[in-house]
Symmetry: C2
């Protein structure tokens, strides 16, 4: 194994665990730290592949759960794989489908062998096991595939401030089946399954020379459970490792703490992937902890709800205040929706499309509203990653903090990565 | 008047009234015969302006009725006009809002001065008169603006196979207000109003040097009524003239007959615009009758319903037959959805995106399905117009008929524009 993926670390931040690198796959390279655009059903919602590329996106995530149900992995395989099916020539990653099987199905049963759930497409009964998940991912043909794991509630479902209702229900059903698990026991069971299932995933993986299988570390918010899982998962030699079960309802500080604790338990020379995270400051905190890869639906999902990400914070474009606001979503932004460069065209506010126009599109229910904001938001996240990579490569976090003040709150003041009060280079001490 | 628009005829078909020309406006040129993409609410549904341009579209239509209700013409004016508001630097045309006021409002009253209707946005009572329509269009700032006319039912509402329920209701309400109009009287009343209102439109037009006002000929399917209206409308010197009230439920043959009858009554040296038409063969028939401009929602509306236009006829992409169909929507098509050129990428079927993928997008409810089919369908119509212009310029209708067999059924066999049975040049006799 290992042929399917090469990871080079090009520069290390002397003041933190952050590093700039490059991942090479069978379908090209991507720079790390990387933000993957989520294309659940083999489509990044609202964006053509040209538009995806125009945001600076280098790698796309597809969801195994959704694609196995519709159109079915066989169709994608016969289409020549996910890349040809969706017309995206660059790197693709698929998740294992486990998380969705637990969290989206109204009915599911978890046991030591796998998960049974009802299809959200046609109600039929579906069985997902480590072997089946890998077979589906082998058929879909992504460059990076993920282990099938057991993702327990991150916090005690009886006590925690989580909104994971369905995971909670599933966990309780698991408990109800005569086992009487408390939360700690549920975490331990999930951890044991996650390790056993990873062995089965590796054994079942039929294309290790083309597709890189990543293991996933679970363990909720319990440091000891994370350590137990990380040790056993990393004992299995794989081209990369992920941190799962994070950012499912916890506050930023807890996300950062669990991530920092777990990331340092993963091998230094392999890419580390924090699944499903997150807001800008979550990304910065994770990068400082040594994480290399991210995915999150925030840019596209919030775009569909008329929310724009900006360096100064979120903007709700439906607000009446934007009705006559002829400036761009974000002044100085280089995205295809804000930047008039190359288009020879300016709004009175100096941008390409105005807030007033985008607000109008949302008020009128025009598809173009979500399209333009998805372009902007995905650009925002890719630009953030580019500036993070530059901050690491140039050892210049103070500049990053000036340009991304809200994201930079994740940089701990007074630590080795702190921004000195009067300038200077935090990473270069 | 006339400064706002220049029309050059570059080539005339010797065997028909068809001609190739060029219209020059304050925002650039477009080639005729031209197909205008419909951007009702200042957005061609699902397409960014880059995508619109990529389909070969040169001129876009906006709807006065929709834009005056939302966001309001004042907002568009303060944004710098429709071009800057929607980011489309090329020519734009606005309709007058009359047709929508009659046909879309649940409540409306037509009288000799104008129309009163309830807003579909907030239910408020709106009054539209010739003066108000022109004021709104002056504020929106399109390059070509349309007269506010009275569009009666094209056929006798008591007898006809029309689906114009609301227009029928409006007509009946008009009749109910003590006048007792029969269909012929209603046509006559509409014609008289259309002529009187056109005079008022011209008098109210505040920007004749920048915006070209087109008159509209009504008269339903009655040749005498058409002739009466055409004579009076064309007595008013304007930069262009339109044929209104066509293709509101009639069969192809009647559309062609009314168009041919009316087009020859319009001045030869000015652009002729057939409003709201239509299918490919309707366009060809109208071009042969000397029409220069078209608009229709068919390419984008049908795209949203998963229907693709192809030279061989329509294709319903939701059909299960396309589930494993890895060829492009149309083999040989140069559109951004079908053509792999420049993308270095091929489906197993040799195209860029496969029918199977686009079907999947529709089945999964992904926005990208309508986006890709809108690109294809609009390209299809623009390619048709390009090939029509080439057929005229090169006097080669037989080649056109080979390449567009379904559209070419509109070319009358045995007439001067006929395709000789064994080849030869129909236009070059």
């Amino acid at each position: 194994m290992g042929e399917a993926l090469r990871f080079e670390i090009l520069h290390r931040c002397p003041g933190s665990a952050a590093r700039v690198g490059r991942v090479t796959t069978a379908h090209g390279e991507f720079d790390t730290p990387a933000f993957m655009a989520v294309g659940t059903r083999a489509s990044v919602k609202g964006l053509s592949v040209d538009h995806i590329a125009a945001t600076g996106t280098q790698v796309v995530l597809n969801n195994t759960y959704h694609l196995m149900l519709r159109p079915g992995e066989g169709t994608i395989q016969r289409a020549g794989g996910a890349h040809r099916f969706m017309g995206w020539p660059g790197p693709i990653l698929t998740d294992s489908g486990g998380y969705q099987a637990y969290s989206m199905a109204d009915l599911n049963d978890i046991d030591d062998d796998g998960v049974t759930f009802r299809s959200i497409v046609d109600g039929s009964k579906i069985r997902l096991t480590p072997e089946r998940s890998i077979a589906v991912q082998n058929a879909i043909g992504a460059d990076i595939i993920m282990a099938f794991d057991d993702c327990p509630p991150s916090v005690d479902p009886e006590a925690g401030p989580t909104n994971q209702t369905r995971i909670r229900i599933a966990a309780r059903r698991d408990a109800d089946r005569g086992r009487g698990y408390d939360h700690a026991t549920r975490l331990a069971v999930a951890n044991e399954r996650t390790v056993r299932w990873l062995e089965r995933c590796r054994a079942a993986h039929a294309r290790p020379g083309e597709q890189a299988l990543f293991g996933i570390v679970q363990g909720g918010t319990d440091p000891a459970a994370r350590a137990w899982c990380a040790e056993r998962v990393c004992n299995i030699d794989l081209p990369g490792y992920a941190i799962g079960g994070v950012a499912v309802g916890e506050p930023h500080e807890q996300i950062a703490a669990v991530t920092a604790h777990t990331a340092r338990l993963l091998p230094e020379g392999k890419p580390r992937y924090l699944m499903g995270v997150g807001y800008e400051r979550d990304l910065v905190a994770a990068v400082l902890a040594g994480v290399d890869m991210f995915d999150c639906v925030l840019p596209t999902r919030n775009a569909r709800n008329a929310q724009a990400f900006t360096r100064a914070g979120p903007l709700r474009l439906r607000n009446a205040a934007h009705g006559e606001d002829f400036g761009p979503v974000e002044a100085g932004c280089g995205c295809p929706a804000c930047d008039p460069a190359g288009h020879g065209w300016l709004t009175p506010g100096g941008g390409r499309f105005s807030r007033a126009y985008i607000r109008h599109l949302f008020m009128a229910g025009e598809m173009l509203g979500p399209i333009l904001l998805s372009l902007h938001n995905l650009w925002h996240f890719q630009r953030l990653m580019l500036d993070i990579r530059r901050a690491i490569a140039e050892d210049d976090w103070p500049r990053f903090a000036r340009e991304w003040p809200r994201a930079a709150v994740a940089i701990p003041v007074g630590s080795r990565t702190a921004i000195p009060p009067r300038g200077g280079d935090a990473c270069n001490e």
